[in-house]
């Protein structure tokens, strides 16, 4: 059964020059127009099955937040249908209902009731909320004396303990320090594990890959793609890079090998890439500690002032584990001429990565580390397998671990 069904949803914003014009429109009804129109969403359809978590990505202004507001019944759709089942709780902004003059305790009570909890529920949850926030000592002080980190911690604690059937989160988590973000992620993962349906808007591709079962890419108020988070992230990033340079575009998929994503402005073409052992044989199974060489060869089809060759290594969830390129490693390339071929070799001992499949995405770009355009990028083409001697706990194991244990007799 679906927790949320959205069919052919469209939302047209009416832009009024003044708030008063909005009122005149209410009175005039359909007889006159005091507004300009703008479709924020059009033909949006998707389902979120109960217990699944659904992520939405897209550039600023693509309609993500509007979509959440429609799903939360804050904004009425102009066309289409929203059908939802279960109790929704919206976290459109962390601490939106907080009043800085009130104490922490008062804000917790007020916000929990704003989020729809009844008095007995709040009384039961209160100790838990305070414990999660780790602000026991500050609960009787006005929130205005809190640091921003403390404020956010309290706000999230309240929201996370509401236990709705469907949780709607709008980038509320892109705040606070790393430790806090980690706790948020953990809490959301726990909620997800306990069967809460989650609708999440985020800019963080890693969060999307890690937290969502399914994802949607929204652009200009239209759905571009609904697929696995991994695929959505790949295609979205491809689009982001591609739209940085609109001179020449190649298709998103590689015409020679269907199914492989390839993009760039076409001023260079990757001709050969792979990971080799030192005797020159191509490898797919890699042993930690052994030295390998990633080779990337590109042919330049136009003059490029600041060429860069490099690659990215990602895990099966689509998370970037590490990347390297000649520039960042301190070996800049001088300008490349049209027709010239350049080969970059990256030699390094294979780190002790957990045993699974990884992908290598080779790339040629031009510019600087901070600001570059993609000439040619082949996404996750080469699949390699890490073969550690023993099971790696977590993503990787640091090298040269020394463990000592001491025993003191009783």
């Amino acid at each position: 059964m679906n927790a949320l069904e959205i069919r052919d949803l469209g939302l047209r914003y009416r832009l009024y020059p003044t708030p008063f014009a909005r009122l005149k429109q209410v009175i005039a009804g359909g007889r006159r127009r005091y507004y300009r129109e703008n479709w924020a969403l059009r033909n949006v359809s998707f389902d979120v099955a109960r217990g699944r978590s659904f992520g939405i990505i897209g550039p600023n202004g693509s309609g993500k937040s509007t979509l959440l507001r429609v799903a939360c019944n804050l904004l009425a759709p102009t066309e289409g249908l929203v059908r939802r089942r279960g109790r929704f709780a919206a976290l459109l902004e962390l601490g939106a209902g907080f009043n800085s003059e009130y104490t922490g305790r008062e804000n917790v009570l007020l916000n929990a009731s704003l989020l729809g909890l009844t008095r007995p529920q709040i009384e039961t949850l209160y100790p838990e909320i305070v414990a999660f926030s780790q602000l026991e000592a500050f609960m009787d002080q006005p929130v205005k004396t809190y640091s921003s980190g403390m404020f956010v911690r309290l706000a999230f604690s309240v929201a996370a303990h509401v236990h709705p059937e469907v949780l709607v989160v709008d980038e509320a988590l892109a705040v606070g320090d790393a430790v806090f973000q980690h706790r948020c992620m953990k809490k959301i993962a726990d909620l997800r594990a306990s069967g809460t349906t989650i609708l999440l808007v985020t800019h963080d591709m890693n969060a999307l890959s890690a937290l969502c079962d399914e994802a949607m890419w929204l652009e200009g108020g239209r759905v571009q793609l609904v697929a696995t988070p991994r695929e959505v992230v790949q295609r979205y990033l491809a689009w982001v890079y591609q739209s940085q340079d609109s001179d020449i575009r190649v298709g998103v998929t590689d015409g020679e090998r269907p199914g492989v994503l390839r993009y760039g402005n076409g001023r260079a073409r990757l001709e050969e890439w792979g990971i080799f052992s030192l005797d020159g044989t191509k490898k797919t199974a890699l042993r930690p500690g052994e030295i390998y060489e990633v080779v990337i060869r590109a042919r330049f089809l136009a003059d490029v002032a600041e060429p860069i060759l490099g690659f990215q290594l990602r895990d099966p969830m689509g998370r970037e584990l590490f990347s390297m390129n000649n520039l960042e490693r301190g070996t800049p390339l001088s300008a490349a001429r049209a027709g010239e071929r350049v080969t970059a070799r990256f030699r390094f001992p294979w780190p002790e990565l957990a045993e699974t499949d990884y992908t290598i995405s080779p790339a040629a770009a031009s510019g600087t580390q901070e600001n570059h355009t993609v000439l040619d990028w082949i996404d996750g083409d080469t699949i390699i397998h890490s073969c550690p001697d023993s099971r790696v706990l977590g993503l990787f194991r640091p090298s040269n671990i020394v463990v000592t244990v001491e025993r003191e007799p009783a």
């Binding site: 008063f20 209410v26 009425a76 704003l114």
Partner: protein, 286 residues
Amino acid sequence: MPTPEADVLEIVPNQIDVPSLGRFWRTLSDNRYLLWQLAVREFLGPFRGSFLGALWAWIYPMVLLTVYAFVFSFVFKMRWGGPTTGGFSGYALVLFASFIPFNFLSTVLQRSTSIIVSQGNLVSKVVFPLEILPASVVLSALLQMAVTTAILLVAAPLLIGSSPLGFAFAVPVLVLHVFFTTGLAFFLTSLSVFVRDIGNLVGIALQVLFFLTPITYPESAFPTRFRWVVDLNTLATVVRLWREAILFGKMPDGASLGGFAVVAVAVFAVGYWWFHRTRKAFIEVL
């Protein structure tokens, strides 16, 4: 946990949600804790962190009342007349009683013109029934009124020997006054979102209303050629019925009470309907 089909919510364009008293009541009762939280905060908010705290809620009207009583009684030589209320303390008491319904109206209307704009974050970022906001303003003013009325109920029997039973006659007037005020509050709450000048306008209108209502002077002092001003002024009726009931134990006359009932219910209905009609647009202009 399976959710019953009744839990399904369908949102389609141009949904008309029919406002009804029953629905309004259910919303209030479903959210009573939130309503209470908001009302108490609203009531105590201005005194937060001050040394005397909630005492200020009474100091302010008491000082004002004393000044009015002094000025009108000694400077303007105003008297109510009558055997029990002829003196200064009688004048002050009647004034105090008359202030109560006016203060209630004034507090609610002033605050309702800023509640949505000042709580804009709640409106656009938190999902909750918006009628709670004006309702919390009314409830917090009711809290304040409860305090002043309690003082009156103790002072009136002591000073002029009024019967405490008069309060029973005042209750229907009070209930209708709450409906009347709530209706106006709904209307102004919504209007102030679109027309920000409403706040200032209401401030001036309340000043005018204060002096055009027989609060500091008896109704009989109003010049006969302007008599219609009092007749048209619903608040004048409220003040008259209220003080007659609570001070002199007089049952409200049917015509006045009936007339007020019609006005109060109509104002409430129109105000609530208007609020419902416009609430979806709040988020667009905030």
